[in-house]
């Protein structure tokens, strides 16, 4: 059993945080997408692009997901700005 999650960042958010992705051992008490987002935003500097109030969308295991989505070890999480395809 792993409690690691894979996190991906895209577009302007990827540029703000300075990396395209990482593997992270879920810290104690971080059980939802919203909690993970706050945890990451607290890293400071570019990570504030993830702070509350910033227009950030998220996906859990490659599906659009809301802040209350529950996290499990092995999950793939992604944070990104609103999409602009088409």
């Amino acid at each position: 059993m792993t409690s690691k999650v894979k996190i991906l960042y895209f577009a302007s958010l990827r540029e703000a945080v300075g990396c395209a992705g990482e593997e992270l051992e879920l810290p104690a008490g971080i059980a939802t997408l919203g909690a993970l987002r706050s945890h990451l935003a607290a890293r400071g500097e570019g990570w504030q692009a993830l702070a509350a109030g910033r227009n950030v969308r998220a996906a859990l295991n490659q599906k659009m997901a809301a802040a209350d989505a529950a996290l499990d070890g092995g999950d793939e999480v992604a944070f990104f700005p609103p999409v602009t395809g088409g």
């Binding site: 996906a59 990104f80 395809g85």
Partner: protein, 177 residues
Amino acid sequence: MVQARAQGAAEVSVQQEDFDVGAEIARLGEGRRDVGAVASFVGLVRDANDGSGVRAMTLEHYPGMTERALEEIVEQAKARWSLHAVRVIHRHGRLEPADRIVFVGVASAHRGEAFAACEFIMDYLKTQAPFWKCEETPQGARWVDARESDDSAAARWETVPAQAGQGEDWDDIERRR
């Protein structure tokens, strides 16, 4: 879907290469005698956006999720309308003005369903498919902001009853006249 697979044709493609619009449209009605309408949409790169020139744009996407999101949108369209064939192609990478970005084609018995499904797929793609545009302008590179009008375009389908256009197809209404 079964039909498309039987013909060996993919419904969704995410690719760097350009596509042949005529060939894609022709393929939608190929080998069938029950298609009465094929509607299509092609999105192109414009040379200007938000008051500034655009030399080129780079489309980033989320490999894996992109394909799944587009397939999900196609499934939703098929649940709402009676469709014979659907094709969605979206390019990524660096594109220049006049380059094609996206193709949506829908084949159905009647035009009402084909038009509606084509627009539905584009509206949902705009808000649900994980693509991001970065434009090269004379002022430098900039990420395109999502438009609120795209959200409202997608949201209006939530008030359209599923299967609209199926029982009361415009062609059927005309036929009764």
